[in-house]
């Protein structure tokens, strides 16, 4: 597999890199624990996402905006957008996805730790967003597969994520809204522009 070069500088660089790298300490126990914790979370999120993705895609196709309501709100976790659930839209009443979307909302509400916030997302054209699993969801650009993961957090953590804690990094941290904020991270080749696009699709209401 390795193609050793004849040039002596190659082998010197190889040796120098190995010498330096081997001096770098590795905390394997910490990596195992951290990887398992994050991996389990990812796996759970993935299962939840897979379970709801068909529904979410159908909802997005119908122009549905999902909405996480205030705790105790009369509405369950998602609400139809004007194009899906109100008379503003000529196509709304015929949307075949309205019922299953609304049915899924209670599950969303049940899964949210902090339900006393309201965030509506109108996915940009070509993007679809999954239902939240816990307080997280993912938006995916259908043409490229670029993905942006969004996590809703309590405002108490805002300063930590906004540069205060080097262990808590995110590519984009929104402002606080009614005691909450969102962190956005790119996956699958997503760019900063993708992250910005998704962030700009948020509408917070208090």
């Amino acid at each position: 597999m390795n193609q050793k070069s004849d040039h002596p500088t190659d082998s010197r660089l190889r040796t120098a890199l190995h010498d330096r790298a081997l001096a770098e300490p590795v905390d394997v126990d910490r990596l195992v624990a951290g990887s398992l914790t994050c991996g389990r979370r990812l796996r759970a999120r993935r299962r939840a996402t897979l379970g709801g993705s068909a529904l979410a895609i159908a909802a997005v196709a119908a122009g549905v905006v999902w909405l996480v309501p205030h705790e105790g709100s009369a509405e369950a976790g998602f609400a139809a957008s004007p194009t899906a659930g109100t008379s503003d839209s000529p196509t709304a009443s015929s949307s075949p996805t309205a019922t299953p979307t609304l049915r899924s909302l209670q599950e969303v509400k049940d899964s949210l730790d902090a339900a006393d916030y309201s965030l509506a997302i109108d996915p940009p054209a070509g993007w679809s967003c999954t239902e939240p699993a816990d307080d997280k969801f993912t938006c995916t650009q259908e043409s490229t597969g670029h993905a942006v993961a969004v996590t809703i957090r309590g405002i108490a953590q805002h300063d930590d994520y906004d540069g205060g804690d080097p262990d808590k990094t995110s590519y984009l941290v929104t402002d606080g809204h009614d005691g909450h904020f969102a962190t956005l991270n790119p996956y699958a080749g997503a760019t900063g522009e993708d992250v910005q696009t998704i962030a700009e699709s948020f509408t917070w209401s208090s």
Binding site: D10, L13, V26, G34, C38, P166, G189, A190
Partner: protein, 171 residues
Amino acid sequence: MRGWRRPLDVTEEFETFVRETAPRLHRTAWLLCGDHHAAEDLVQSAYAQAFARWRRVSRADDPVAYTRAILVNAFRSVHRLKRSGEIPTDVTTEREARPLDPDLRLDLTAALAALPPIDRSVVVLRYWDDLSIADTARLLDLSESAVRTRAHRTLQRLRPLVDPSYERATP
């Protein structure tokens, strides 16, 4: 009972995998990032993704290569973002290519950090992970000639750090 035991087996298998491969992959991440904590975050993120799709990873021809690919892709995504989005992050430290500062001559890691991320990736994959030009090209989505060119150019830049004869030859 079987359904209950299965995840435990997967966890044990994954843990064994991490213990066997973490020293190598962490150091790959460290050479890429130039920072211990950023490297730890990067490699942990890669392992977490590997765990989330462990069935597929474990069945791959080379699970280490699979996980390394996740890691390198994550590293490159960070830098693509930084370049295009101007969104601050402290995951890695990117600097524009510039002539080596004399003060950095004895510090190979600082010199690596001064390289453009793609050149740094080429060096790390070729000379630390010992990947072939073809494998490096595939992983970085470059042509083989591009890998050769970047490796050559980078070697020229790093040569003063690793080649004692260079000082004598170039007063």
